[in-house]
Symmetry: C2
Subunit: 145 residues, 2 copies
Amino acid sequence: MYTIGQISEMFGIPISTLRYYDKEGLFPKIERQSGIRRFSETEVETLRIIECLNASGLGIKDIKQFMEWTTEGSATYARRRQLFEKRKAAVEDEIRRLQKTLDMLKYKCWYYETAIRDGNEDRISAMLPDRLPPEIQKLYDHGRS
Amino acid sequence: MYTIGQISEMFGIPISTLRYYDKEGLFPKIERQSGIRRFSETEVETLRIIECLNASGLGIKDIKQFMEWTTEGSATYARRRQLFEKRKAAVEDEIRRLQKTLDMLKYKCWYYETAIRDGNEDRISAMLPDRLPPEIQKLYDHGRS
DNA sequence: GTATTACCTAAACCTGACTTTAGGTCAATG
DNA sequence: CATTGACCTAAAGTCAGGTTTAGGTAATAC
């Protein structure tokens, strides 16, 4: 059993945030000892799931919904699975989107390296939009598609 | 030359957002014809950069700073390059973070597939934390590290 | 000539995710 | 026995990134 301060330390999450999560119903089964929250392994695992779902871009209201399902036992396995499948697809999309952004950023890095070397952007402008060096052209094209 | 409505269509960005960007100084050189904004190729390119920097997680104030640098010519090439290098590193970090999240989500998908098949979580609980099937163990371990 | 459509502004409003504030309880320490 | 430290609540405040509202102009369509 842990106090809110210990959990805050363990996860690097401010106490105020943990209390806010609790107020929002993210720890549906948390116990209290004369008013004081007692975090068990259940809540530690819950917090790991919160971090994961949060990192996947899910909002707090939907995380709360998920936590309610976990209190309903095996009847909600299918819904919970569905949620994770959707989050998986969303994160895969997000990674693809970031991969494109990354190619655009790499192109821009090359752009400014070249502009610094040349002292101006004239030579690059003359190569646009389809006469860039092959490797750079790939980045440029992927970054816009 | 394009009107704000045409640009909104082209980029799939609400007109209100484009006006908001302008108010925030993201189109430092935009022209007006008796009060009406006229978007040229310069602003189209600016919007592509806004989308890219935004997607990289940069806030609007910092994007504005960048746009100011572009109006100062070759004197700011080095600062602009530095910004893109930093965004590149930030996006690389974010992709790594999402990769971990993805592994955790894949593990959770397997978890619920298995729980559904078994009708309960007992068999899985008995395998935790280090007797999971090899492929799943990899996902589980990576997702927490 | 009026009605519609596309544009304009300033300012208020909204949402999500916290954080801060103000005031209080309770156990241990000097 | 008073002060410190760790906990508590409710409510207000903050911030980013927009969106909505209310009121106005100006060209085209019927």
